[in-house]
């Protein structure tokens, strides 16, 4: 078994607003060596680092917009988000919760700070990830997996090192509750100061480590501070993380889908023709209607 080394540690890029409710640093696909092909099946990662939103009577967020061809995964660390979609679905993503939405053949939705939360405001911290779907699954019907914090499976590390929360995939025999279309591992590693954890994924899986809180050292060598993302090379299977202070890190590893990607805005398809169809369908109301 070879060591999976750190290819680079990326600092957060200048933030931008998505709507008026999400202040995000984009890592995938605009980060250096983090384009959609390199990070496949992860095609977008926006990280809202801790940001204090003042109280607002009108919930801030993103108005009605479509998605097609992939899945969105929202991981809430601080704050609360309410969402609604064109098929009448909706819900609230609270602290620690994960929402896994399969947009597949198309949804129209909107997401805002939850109304009551918005009135008091406060620290807000979230990750939104887009996971690509294989061509055959892009045509499937949309669905949600609302994963509550208390339902997430946990693995207790030895020596009081901390806990691995398994959202998807598997860690040392403990499986995540989320179902995925292609093999994906997604964990929140909550490590106490000095706590260590080791990970093993196939070499060709594209893998990253995003430091949500604290600071970690990877493979006794590379320091990854808060809000930084370590991109792991495809040169081995195993790596170690040690927390130099209490830390939370999001670990993502997925098998590349290796299909052509044609992406524009909120649509991610395989060919240019499919993209044009997606725009036509959206413009002609085939995604349904949702009031702003």
């Amino acid at each position: 078994m070879k060591t999976k080394t750190v290819e680079l540690v990326a600092s957060p890029r200048a933030p931008h607003f998505v709507g008026d409710g999400f202040r995000v640093h984009n890592f995938i696909p605009s980060g250096f060596r983090m384009d959609m092909q390199r990070m496949d099946p992860f095609i977008l990662l926006d990280y809202n680092s801790t940001y204090n939103f003042p109280p607002s009577d009108k919930p801030k967020g993103v108005g009605v917009h479509p998605h097609k061809g992939f899945e969105t995964v929202t991981i809430a660390y601080k704050g609360k988000v309410a969402h609604h979609d064109s098929s009448g679905g909706g819900g609230v993503i609270g602290e620690g919760d994960v929402q896994w939405m399969t947009a597949a053949n198309g949804v129209l939705h909107k997401e805002h700070h939850e109304e009551e939360w918005s009135k008091t405001g406060g620290d807000f911290q979230m990750v939104q990830l887009w996971v690509n779907l294989p061509a055959k699954d892009k045509k499937s019907n949309p669905k949600y997996q609302a994963i509550k914090y208390e339902d997430i499976h946990r693995y207790q590390l030895e020596n009081n090192a901390g806990t691995i929360e398994i959202i998807a995939g598997e860690y040392k025999g403990t499986k995540g509750v989320a179902s995925t279309f292609t093999p994906i591992h997604m964990f929140n590693a909550k490590l106490n100061k000095g706590g260590k954890a080791d990970f093993e994924f196939p070499a060709h899986y594209n893998t990253t480590v995003l430091v949500i809180e604290g600071q970690v050292i990877i493979n006794n060598q590379d320091v990854a501070p808060t809000d930084h993302m370590a991109l792991m090379a495809n040169d081995g299977e195993t790596f170690k993380i040690e927390a130099t202070e209490d830390a939370i890190v999001l670990i993502l590893s997925g098998e590349p889908i290796n299909e052509p990607i044609a992406a524009h805005g909120p649509f991610v398809m395989n060919t240019q023709q499919e993209l044009i169809e997606a725009f036509n369908d959206f413009n002609n109301g085939k995604f349904g209607y949702l009031e702003d």
Partner: protein, 201 residues
């Protein structure tokens, strides 16, 4: 090869429409100014003299006027590969009545009379091509006037999304309504009605 990476789209546009190779065009494009504009920055404001035609390499522009009541009226959107200019100001040397503004961070090639002259000297067929572009522009304007005078809101909307397939996802609905000459409420109604007809699940 000397190759201006900054005007890649303009180069492609010209080489795919004219009988000219990339290196010949590079020497002409080299002399063009390529400028970056931040979102909301103005390329032209009312009262200015418009000196250039703007070719959009990246980003999105809009050309609009503001009426006496302060209401905005959008004449055109200019996404990638579009030309935008106030022709009245540029060709008849009059102060402009329009604003041209970046709606996204944009990269724009400034095309002046000089550029047109150089291209015409180098490529005789350019004059014909330029004429065709101009006539196409007039055709679109004619259609737009006719639609505004006679067509239902839904038909205007359908014409709009055919012309600008991705603009609906790039600008607020109020701007689309402004372009269509309808209220945002009417635009919502049109889109709701289309969804009622076409949404199947």
């Amino acid at each position: 090869m000397i190759y201006n990476q900054k005007s890649f789209n303009l180069t492609t546009f010209l080489t795919s429409n004219l009988n000219i190779n990339e290196s010949d065009i590079a020497s002409i494009i080299e002399n063009c100014t390529v400028k970056n504009f931040k979102k909301e920055e103005f390329l032209l404001t009312k009262g200015d003299y418009c000196k250039d035609t703007f070719f959009v390499e990246k980003g999105l522009l809009r050309q609009y006027s503001i009426d006496e009541k302060g209401k905005e009226h959008i004449l055109y959107f200019g996404p990638e590969n579009w030309f935008i200019s106030d022709r009245e100001s540029a060709y008849f040397n009059q102060p402009s009545t329009y604003y041209i503004q970046a709606l996204e961070d944009s990269q724009v090639v400034l095309i002046d009379e000089n550029f047109i002259q150089r291209l015409s000297d180098k490529i005789p067929s350019f004059t014909d091509f330029n004429n065709r572009l101009l006539h196409n522009h007039i055709r679109n304007l004619q259609n737009r006037i006719n639609m505004l005078l006679s067509a239902l809101a839904e038909d205007r909307y359908l014409q709009f999304v055919k012309m600008y397939p991705d603009i609906l996802l790039r600008v607020p609905q109020t701007m689309v309504a402004s372009y269509l000459g309808i209220t945002p409420e009417s635009l919502s109604r049109v889109r709701r009605e289309l969804a009622r007809k076409n949404f199947k699940r």
